[in-house]
Symmetry: C2
Subunit: 306 residues, 2 copies
């Protein structure tokens, strides 16, 4: 508790690890705090094809591991703890975590975001019993069964395409009449014989017994209701930033993302944000890693001028 | 000449290739224009240690090649030509190049920057005869001789450290009394027995016969002049953006860098900039690649909404 770090980085995904590589190479006395596993959300990405430098693609788990090894090579210390609050006292930052308190002169917040919930009846009750937010984790549990994917973005289609390896049929349920996902994914999805699409439709509730048995759907244009028998449902409707504990301290966007300038500075001097947790992020690994480098260089400049 | 591309990317360095990978994966009808070699300025980087995902480091040439392969995998067409001007007519962009004209609905400018000149007597005269801007290209020509490096930033120290492999002595001449380079580099440089430092000193002229023989120096604090006998001088004093041909079209910073917002949009709708050529860039490969992805996604949004 007595030690004051120069820099604490919250989050060990691509943004936090990139910031850590830069900070450690700059010989800043830095601590990285991660609540689960180094690599962050990319650990859930089966295959990453668009991170420049990997023409054959790379699994999310391997890319996360490579970045973690690189941070370790420059002796970046890591503790596993969950951030619970930040207080600023005379410029010093006091970070409260599940494993005690840490002090630092500067903080980079790179805590990412989590999957949004739909908030429909059955979603909580059947979580882990057919309701999933992670296709890669749970797809193989539904061998030769029919499952649904809710959403129309890149994550939803990537999830759906992945699950087709296991299941007999994937039904994508989307509230609009066209997908938001990038065209290459749309083409693959629309051409996949195991995939079906239900347009203009929302999920109203999830039903079952000891596990999911069906979905109550509603067409938003006609109002018609229907029941779809499935054994599982993957919910891929967006991300929620991990910023609950920062309310009142930092300026946040309407969606709860941290507002930053081009140098990743927040409204509080010495606090920076990087990656999916900041407002305006394109939610791509390469951009998160770029953010992390920018935040580390900004933190270094802040520390050397204060 | 008749064809109108959806997107033209100017520059095949990390920013342009990353933009190309994203644009090609999004099935945008894209053309990439590069004036020299795919990879851009990283082809001059002997070894890159801070690009996240490569814990052992990677040569600049290999990283450039990996990114180029990835763009090629998604069928990104490339032409070798130098951009000379852009005209906007009814929203369409007409790009004039050394190899003819191309038309596009959107343009991403990722042309990077070039090494700044000192503008001292002898600099032009002895270029290629002992004056160099590329340590990796020319370092081996000075085996067992003494050479100077001008500058105090990361590029200067990286250059100097690289050259110590070949030469008997590297003298770093810096106009201030401390280095701007990151600490890990400073430590390595200061500990290297083949490196010496001359502080608070500027180069006034370069002298020689058929090749460089010496440098006229001036101490900026005392005014004292001196002569330093060397066979070569590597000038590493900064970068100049390749934006001459954009004056009058785009809003530029005082240093000539392209002004962009957080989405890499310039002041002209449908023209984006990414990487070292934009104002506020940290001049790092990872950030340039991040910029490229952001610019491509912004271009895709621009095209689908126009």
């Amino acid at each position: 508790m007595d030690k004051v770090y120069q820099l604490i980085i919250i989050g060990g995904g691509p943004a936090g690890l990139s910031a850590g590589i830069y900070a450690a190479r700059s010989r800043l006395d830095t601590l990285l705090i991660e609540k689960a596993g180094l690599g962050g959300n990319i650990l859930n990405a089966e295959w990453v094809e668009n991170y420049p430098g990997f023409p054959k693609g790379v699994s999310g788990a391997e890319l996360g591991s490579l970045m973690a090894q690189q941070a370790e090579k420059y002796n970046l210390p890591t503790v596993f703890a969950e951030a619970e609050g930040i207080e600023v006292r005379d410029g010093e930052k006091l970070l409260k975590t599940s494993e005690g308190q840490y002090r630092a002169k500067a903080v980079i917040i790179a805590g990412g975001s989590e999957h949004s919930k739909l908030g429909v009846p059955g979603e909580e009750e059947f979580r882990g019993k057919g309701v999933s937010y992670c296709a890669m984790c749970d797809g193989a549990f539904f061998r030769d069964e029919a499952v649904a994917v809710i959403g129309g973005g890149n994550v939803a289609l990537n999830d759906a395409l992945f699950i087709t390896r296991f299941v007999s049929k994937v039904i994508v349920i989307h509230r609009r009449d066209q997908l938001r996902a990038t065209k290459v994914l749309q083409e693959r999805a629309l051409a996949n014989p195991r995939m079906e699409f239900i347009w203009d439709t929302v999920l109203e509730s999830i039903t079952g017994d000891s596990q999911v048995r069906g979905l109550q759907l509603r067409n938003v244009k006609t109002g018609a209701k229907s029941n779809l028998p499935v054994s599982g449902v993957f919910i891929a409707v967006g991300l929620k930033p991990n910023t609950e504990y920062l309310k009142g301290l930092l300026a946040l966007s309407e969606g709860g993302f941290i507002l930053v300038d081009g140098q990743m500075e927040t409204n509080v001097p010495g606090i920076f944000a990087a990656g999916d947790i900041r407002a305006g992020s394109i939610r791509q690994v390469i951009a998160a890693a770029g953010d992390g480098a920018i935040a580390a260089i900004s933190a270094e400049r802040f520390l050397s001028s204060s």
